[in-house]
């Protein structure tokens, strides 16, 4: 900046008034004492001084100032402000001047010291969660960033938090401790442990008095009453608080060990909630204490930290496995919702019923199939099957018998030789009997009867032997068989009615 002196003397040699001197000239980093001994400054447009433009041809182009629009200038200033690391995250201490609250709820105020003023804007959302309200005349420390409000061409502090003065020391200590512990790796994401899914035993470390313990207990009761809660009271404010918090965390850790050692794992806490209600940064300061941070990191159980309001961030939050925005939120994060778990359980019940129904239906289908299969097995088919099976058996039996006979052949032949004479003798006897019987039959035959004078009468037309007189009406032809020869005759009808 200091080397942007114009190469030529300002025309006319008339000195601009003191108040018009550009600030950059008096801040030259080469240690020059200012305008009194330095070369005359470049002409600068001021509200009252006439604009003196260097003539073309006198000043080389690269040194000729370009003419910017108001917006362009504003953007240059804005960009310079925004890119400056020192202005992005600042703590500013000063006395509060006039305070105006807009209808939208934003607060506009000035911070001033003996020589300067700084315009500040504090938006509603940030302001409403703050326990502290700036009032005219108070010395405060405001945290925020410097930015340019282009419409009015002003730079101002966009406030995120306001604390009473005296806090500045704390803020510095906070940043220093945070940097140191972070360098040790205490806040690293890799250190964070996952929370248990549905913890059976939950340890809570907070103050026994106050709404926080009540709120946490209420949330746990509503969401997951299946849990057991082990409460470790501690002071959360004032000088003794850090040691008290460390002792409470230690009691929880030792109690968990004790339960396991005594064979009561069901009573051992598996997750810890460390909580405190909202307050000023000083109120919450115990949770920025190095002892507390180290106790959290060294705590054997996964730990959820819920301190203050959503905008309050403490080192305990950084060190915890999970940071909850509020104490109630910490309780909600730790346990499942009973309603959701009930829905999960109902889904399991539906699956169970579904699979049971499918199993029974499948069994029923299978049974029906068996029955149909049985019905289709008609007896005839089964008989055929049996027959086939029997046929196979018979074949086998036959083969066996034939084999046996083959073996027994010679013995049978011998037996036959012995039997044949006996058979022949029998047959001879039978022939003799037959001959005598034939003779007997001959005696009993019709010829013998005819020989004795009887005759056999037949009708001529059909050869039928007549036994009754009415079987041959008058005129019917007759054949009469005698012992020797046959006689033809004509019937004259029955002689008397039969």
């Amino acid at each position: 900046m200091s080397h942007r002196e114009p190469p030529s003397a300002s025309p006319g040699g008339d000195e601009p008034p003191d108040w018009a001197l550009p600030a950059w000239d008096s801040l030259s980093d080469d240690g020059s004492p200012g305008p009194a001994t330095g070369p005359p400054p470049a002409p600068v447009a001021t509200p009252s001084a006439p604009v003196v433009r260097p003539r073309a041809g006198v000043i080389p182009d690269e040194f000729r100032p370009s003419i910017l629009g108001v917006t362009e200038v504003t953007h240059v200033v804005r960009d310079a402000v925004r890119t400056d690391q020192r202005l992005r995250d600042v703590w500013v201490e000063g006395e509060v001047g006039r305070v105006t609250i807009s209808s939208a709820g934003h607060a506009y105020f000035t911070l001033k010291d003996e020589r300067s003023q700084l315009s500040c804007i504090w938006f509603r959302d940030d302001r409403l969660v703050s326990p502290f309200e700036p009032r005219t005349g108070l010395r405060v420390v405001a945290h925020g960033r410097i930015d340019v409000f282009e419409q009015q061409g002003v730079y101002q502090l966009y406030v995120t938090a306001v604390q009473p003065a005296g806090f500045g020391d704390l803020a510095l200590r906070f940043e220093e401790l945070k940097a140191r512990l972070a360098a040790e790796g205490l806040f690293e994401a890799a250190r964070k442990r996952p929370l248990p899914h549905r913890p059976a035993v939950i340890a809570v470390a907070t103050s026994a008095s106050g709404a926080v313990w009540h709120d946490i207990r209420h949330v746990l009761e509503r969401r997951w009453p299946l849990a057991q809660v082990v409460f470790a009271a501690c002071q959360v404010q004032g000088e003794p608080a850090p040691a008290s918090i460390v002792a409470a965390l230690d009691r929880i850790a030792r109690y968990a060990d004790q339960c396991l050692a005594e064979g009561r794992p069901a009573n051992a806490p598996v997750v810890t909630i460390l909580a405190r209600g909202g307050g000023s940064l000083e109120d919450l300061w115990s949770f920025n204490d190095e002892r507390v941070v180290r106790a959290i990191v060294g705590h054997p159980l996964p730990l959820v930290c819920g301190v203050g309001h959503e905008t309050d961030v403490t080192l305990a939050d950084f060190a915890a496995d999970v940071r909850a925005p509020t104490p109630s939120a910490a309780a909600e994060i730790v346990v499942p919702d009973r309603v959701e778990v009930a829905a999960l359980l109902a889904a399991e019940a539906r699956r169970l019923t579904g699979v049971a129904q499918r199993t029974v239906a499948a069994a029923r289908r299978e049974l029906g199939g068996e029955r149909r299969a049985l019905d289709q097995l008609r007896p005839a088919d089964r008989l055929a099957q049996a027959r086939e099976r029997a046929g196979v058996l018979l074949d086998r039996a036959t083969r066996t018998v034939l084999d046996r006979l083959g073996l027994a052949g010679t013995a049978e032949q011998r037996a036959e030789a012995r039997l044949r004479p006996v058979v022949t003798l029998r047959l001879g006897t039978a022939h003799a009997t037959l001959d005598s019987s034939v003779a007997a039959l001959a005696v009993l035959g019709p010829q013998a009867t005819l020989d004795r004078g009887y005759a056999i009468v037949r009708r001529s037309e059909d050869g039928r032997i007549l036994r009754r007189a009415d079987e041959a009406q008058a005129g019917a032809g007759l054949k009469i068989r005698l012992a020797a020869g046959e006689l033809g005759a004509i019937s004259q009808g029955p002689l008397e009615p039969g």
């Binding site: 059976a200 009540h214 207990r217 009973r338 019940a349 699956r351 169970l352």
Partner: protein, 91 residues
């Protein structure tokens, strides 16, 4: 239903019962077992579900307070549900 619950199920914690229920359902869904085994699995599943449902419906938050005894041993003292006012103390 509750009175018929097998004693081993009646003593399960919610997580244990739910885990076994999920395992049982998965096994039944995989299928393959004989019908008798499926029916037995279903009956056990019903009992496990009943156990979970009862725990979910009837549970009462049990709150105890850690108290340090003289020897350094810790004791968890039962707090009643309406026992809101607690003496502060860091032990």
């Amino acid at each position: 239903m509750t009175t018929q619950m097998p004693p081993d199920i009646a003593n399960l914690t919610f997580d244990e019962a739910l885990a076994e229920l999920q395992r049982t359902v998965a096994e039944l869904e995989a299928g393959g077992g004989p019908l008798e085994a499926s029916i037995a699995g279903y009956e056990r599943g019903v009992a496990l579900h009943e156990r979970c449902a009862v725990l979910l419906a009837d549970a009462e938050l049990r709150v105890r307070r850690l108290v340090e005894r003289a020897g350094g041993a810790l004791e968890a003292v039962e707090l009643r549900a309406d026992d809101e006012a607690l003496p502060d103390g860091s032990g």
